[in-house]
């Protein structure tokens, strides 16, 4: 099989698993839910408390809208952003995993929301709805199965270590010292996502405290808000520095701080990073064999450590940073 044909097959399978299956499952769920609607109580139970007693209620249409929104929009948004990377010729296990998650997630949402309605068929009052424990367990198992099926349906392709641009070492005199410093902030996309998340959480938390609501909900919302604020503060911007000691990446808060000492640098180059496909998003990210400070798409310093693991940081003017790193590496090797 030629490279083009295998790429086309990979994209076709990814599209099937990450887009078509979620859309089909969600459409099916919505149709079944609409068919059930006339025989359902109004409102229906949408949340079950401890002991399996229904404690949250909503009109049927809300369940249908939520199913459509969560079951289709979420996986499709994930799939489309990854598809962009695949079309650019990127590939790897991250995409396969993303596709499988999209399929599994939509299966869980479609099955569980529909099942919970089926249980309420013919009831006069939703308060009498039976517990959903079985539905949750079986739906979760089914979602795992669908996800695993989605994983198997996609070809196993080795991650392309993005073609690394080899930089020339900087021309550094024997008595010369240099430092490269740059502050890089979170890109527009990451900032937008964080801002939307923050606004939604603030509104939700304020509403939960002002309106009569479950204390668990209040505190879990408050907790989430604290976490998101902390994430925003920590990943908002980083200072990146290359000097004779190696590479240092420090959050503008001062912590966390990540270092790759010069002695641990096996190779260094410049790569173009696609956050969704390679790391599953922006932030401090782990991917198989690599760790990334991923703030935006585009050029990045990529260091391969002695142990084979890679450290990636997306930053402007990465070429100069790598050139300096290579110059110091060459000097250290000449000295030993």
């Amino acid at each position: 099989m030629t490279a083009d044909a295998s790429l086309a097959r990979m994209i076709a399978r990814f599209r099937l698993v990450a887009l078509f299956i979620p859309l089909a499952l969600t459409a099916l769920a919505v149709i079944v839910q609409l068919t059930l609607a006339p025989s359902l109580p109004d409102p229906v139970a949408i949340h079950w408390g401890v002991g399996g007693v229904p404690d949250g209620f909503a009109p049927v249409w809300l369940v249908v809208v939520m199913t459509a929104a969560a079951g289709a929009v979420l996986p499709v948004a994930m799939g489309l952003s990854a598809l962009r990377g695949l079309r650019l010729g990127d590939q790897g296990v991250t995409y396969r995993f993303l596709g499988a998650v999209a399929a599994g997630l939509s299966a869980l949402i479609a099955l569980l929301s529909t099942w919970s309605l089926v249980l309420q068929r013919g009831l006069a009052d939703a308060a009498a709805a039976p517990p959903v424990t079985t539905a949750v367990l079986v739906s979760s198992a089914a979602a795992l199965a669908v996800g695993y099926g989605g994983w198997l349906a996609q070809p196993s392709v080795p991650a392309v270590r993005q073609r690394e641009r080899r930089a020339e070492p900087l021309d550094l005199g024997a008595q010369e010292d240099a430092v490269w410093l740059r502050t890089q902030s979170l890109g527009g996309f990451g900032r937008t996502v964080l801002a939307i998340g923050l606004v939604a959480l603030v509104l939700g938390t304020v509403a939960a405290w002002l309106l009569p609501s479950d204390p668990t909900l209040r505190w879990s919302l408050t907790g989430s808000l604290v976490v998101v604020v902390a994430v925003a503060a920590v990943t908002g911007a980083f200072r990146v520095r290359v000097d004779r000691d190696g590479l240092t990446v420090t959050s503008i808060l001062g912590l966390p701080r990540m270092r790759v000492p010069l002695a641990e640098v096996e190779a260094a180059g410049v790569v173009e990073v696609n956050p969704a496909g390679e790391f599953g998003g922006v932030g401090l990210r782990s991917a198989p064999g690599r760790f990334g400070v991923v703030l935006r798409a585009g050029e990045a310093i990529q260091i391969t450590r002695r142990n084979g693991r890679q450290f990636v940081v997306t930053v402007d003017d990465a070429d100069t940073a790598v050139a300096l790193l290579l110059a110091y590496q060459a000097r250290a090797r000449a000295a030993s």
């Binding site: 550094l172 024997a174 010369e176 010292d177 240099a178 430092v179 490269w180 410093l181 200072r239 003017d317």
Partner: protein, 118 residues
């Protein structure tokens, strides 16, 4: 941005630091509104005196390339884009001088002498 100092050079260290900032601005690697790294960070990384870096930043301020404000540090002014505008011309001139067998130092002194004579 890249700051380099050559300890074997006759040029004072503060002048070399300032020259690095100018070169970065000329090459467009740093742009108006960009903040220069803190003098403390630069001094520590290059193992030079803090006052050497501060002196360089003050010189850059005196020539209008940066503004210094408390708490904001040194920020590149619009003058940085002027440097970038002549970058191409300078590269052309350096290339021509090299073809004619003139060193960069000779070229620099010729440029200075000719402009002083005008």
């Amino acid at each position: 941005m890249l700051i380099r100092v050559d300890h074997s050079s006759d040029e004072p260290l503060f002048a070399q630091v300032a020259a690095s900032v100018r070169a970065g601005a000329a090459a467009g690697r740093i742009r108006p509104g960009d903040r220069l790294p803190s003098a403390r960070d630069v001094a520590a990384a290059l193992d030079v005196n803090l006052h050497t870096v501060l002196r360089a930043y003050q010189d850059l301020r005196d020539e209008g390339l940066v503004t210094m404000r408390r708490g904001r540090g040194a920020v590149l002014t619009d003058a940085a884009s002027h440097l970038q505008q002549i970058h191409r011309d300078v590269l052309d001139l350096v290339d021509r001088a090299r073809v004619l067998g003139l060193s960069t130092d000779t070229l620099a002194s010729i440029v200075k002498e000719i402009s002083d004579d005008r």
